[in-house]
């Protein structure tokens, strides 16, 4: 079974600063995806960024980037130039590639961007 661990229940960052959210996971699989989803107060689940495990290059999406360390089973999210709209719960998630695989979520990190 796969597990996803987020050890930071809450974090805060000043507007325009950079923040890093941590995530570790455990799996015996070799072919999988990792995701960061954002859940604002509206509670909608929004995909922020995706990483394929077979790719060594870290994924980036505008102000969002990841540090994927496959051997260490670590997948952190860096948010640069934080904006007030980044205030949300952030969930790290895992999915085995292929088939009808489900997504396994971490417990989440609540990020507050302070003006």
């Amino acid at each position: 079974a796969q597990t996803v661990t987020q050890s930071q229940p809450e974090m805060s960052v000043q507007e325009a600063e950079t923040v890093t959210l941590s995530c570790t996971y455990d799996t015996s699989e070799n072919n999988y995806y990792l995701f960061w989803y954002k859940q604002p107060p509206s509670r909608q689940m929004i995909l922020v960024i995706r990483q394929e495990a077979y790719k060594q290059q870290n994924a980036t999406e505008n102000r969002f980037s990841v540090n994927f360390q496959k051997a260490a089973k670590s997948f952190s999210l860096k948010i640069s130039d934080s904006q007030l709209g980044d205030t949300a719960m952030y969930f790290c998630a895992f999915m085995i590639r292929g088939g009808y695989q489900k997504v396994t979520f971490g417990i989440g990190t609540k990020l507050q961007v302070i003006p």
Partner: protein, 116 residues
């Protein structure tokens, strides 16, 4: 951009009543999912659905739950006799699933179910 939609956004029901939560997945997607999130907790997988049948279900998905794709567009979750502990946010998700296509699951905005 295509998106997953869910109705209603909020459903209030009495304990013991049946509820049906509705989802319209992205049109060319082949795999469909339901997840739930009890307030303050992590999102949990309930069931996956492919080719008009359940492909996997969690231990949460007991006989009180059922899913159906009644036509070419809707995907529904039915709870036969609701309990207080069924109060949660229910998310529908869909995935393209074509060879060489995206494996990303796209989530709907959720239905907040409140059981009184």
């Amino acid at each position: 951009e295509p998106e997953v939609t869910q109705t209603p956004s909020h459903q209030v029901t009495q304990m013991g009543q049946e509820v049906i939560l509705r989802c319209v997945p992205i049109s060319n997607h082949l795999y469909f999912y339901w997840y739930r999130q009890i307030l303050g907790q992590k999102v949990e997988f309930l069931v996956s659905f492919y080719n008009n049948e359940i492909s996997e279900k969690s231990e949460i998905f007991d006989d009180q739950f059922s899913v159906e794709r009644p036509d070419g567009s809707n995907f529904t979750l039915k709870i036969r006799s609701t309990k207080l502990e069924d109060s949660a946010m229910y998310f529908c998700a869909s995935r393209e699933g074509l060879a060489g296509g995206s494996d990303t699951q796209y989530f709907g905005p959720g239905t907040r179910l409140t059981v009184l």
